[in-house]
Amino acid sequence: MTPGRIVAIVPAYNEAGAIGGVVAAIRAANPRFDVVVVDDGSRDETSAIARAHGAAVVTLPYNIGIGGAVQTGFKYALERGYGMAVRLDGDGQHDPGELPKLLGPIERDEADIVTGSRFADGSGDYRPPLARRIGIIWFARIVSLLTRQRVTDTTSGFQALNRKGIALFAGDYPNDYPEVEATVLVFKHRLRLVEVPVTMRERETGSSSITFLRSIYYVLKVTLALFIAMVRKYAVPQEEVTGS
């Protein structure tokens, strides 16, 4: 249907200030990219600006949360028959110039999902505020323990996926802080996850969707979800692999 083309999924919520530049930068980075912006019920001009810059736009009727918005993008990719997808945030913190690094392992068929990590060896200097750093380390430790694979950045939304990865996330994707739980999901379905070091930019406009008061609730909720995810039975089991 769309051979050789790659869909760039960009979730955006009230990112009118940044979205135009993000869409333009992705399209300029590689002519094989089709950009789809998933507008998660923004109250500003996010949809119109994205459309004006040449993106396909899916506008949700109200804010459904980051996980649901991203999953809408994966469903779009699956229905349109894309064999490869990348995912970048709509606020401009992910540099499209890093995309070849993310797509490399997918194109060589060494991974089903590649995550751009801010904390892997060779990443740029990224120093989030203390509370956020503690949360990031906490989740990285738990996920590494559960999946028995070294994962350094479980909250990164900078990813590349092949058709298998797209299909998995189109069918099942968590909602709040979705990347953490999704990592366990990938492990449970025995897909190959690879991290590559990337440098992320500071946010251009807008504020993080996670405020401090809610973060304790999120940490509790996501930790609970992680352990539940490990003991859950999955509807789409991959082939059994012994050992590990």
């Binding site: 949809s47 009727p61 909720k221 609970l224 539940i228 859950r232």
Partner: protein
């Protein structure tokens, strides 16, 4: 002091609550988002049924030292009220979103009909 039988029964009930909630999440019949309050309820009730001195102390503060289990009832009731109130807010939000979806769907249906009828593209801005 709380009768031992009351403590044992309350502890068993709390553990059952926690286990049922966890199993519901595992079976995807309950989302973590709506389960957290129930789990907190279960854990608080479990702690107060096992930690008998604590229950007695709290009962003393509130002037019901002669019958500490009253505190168990009071706290269970309080949590049920909180859970119900939370559900009311969730229900209100769903009500609002449901209305938006119905409106959006009706408008899209009109738009599809119009496109099918005249074959020409939309004239006005959509969305």
């Amino acid at each position: 002091m709380t009768p031992v039988k009351v403590s044992v029964a309350a502890a068993i009930a709390s553990i059952l609550l926690i286990l049922v909630v966890l199993e519901l999440i595992r079976g995807r019949r309950l989302k973590e988002r709506y389960a957290l309050l129930w789990l907190v309820t279960g854990v608080v009730l479990l702690v107060l049924s096992v930690w008998r001195e604590g229950l007695t102390t709290i009962a003393g503060w509130l002037g019901v030292a002669t019958y500490p289990p009253a505190i168990l009832f009071a706290i269970a009731t309080l949590f049920i009220i909180v859970v119900l109130l939370h559900y009311s807010t969730v229900l209100s939000q769903l009500d609002e979103q449901n209305m938006l979806l119905a409106q959006r769907l009706a408008l899209l249906e009109t738009e599809v009909d119009r496109l099918r009828d005249d074959g020409s593209g939309p004239t006005g801005a959509v969305s």
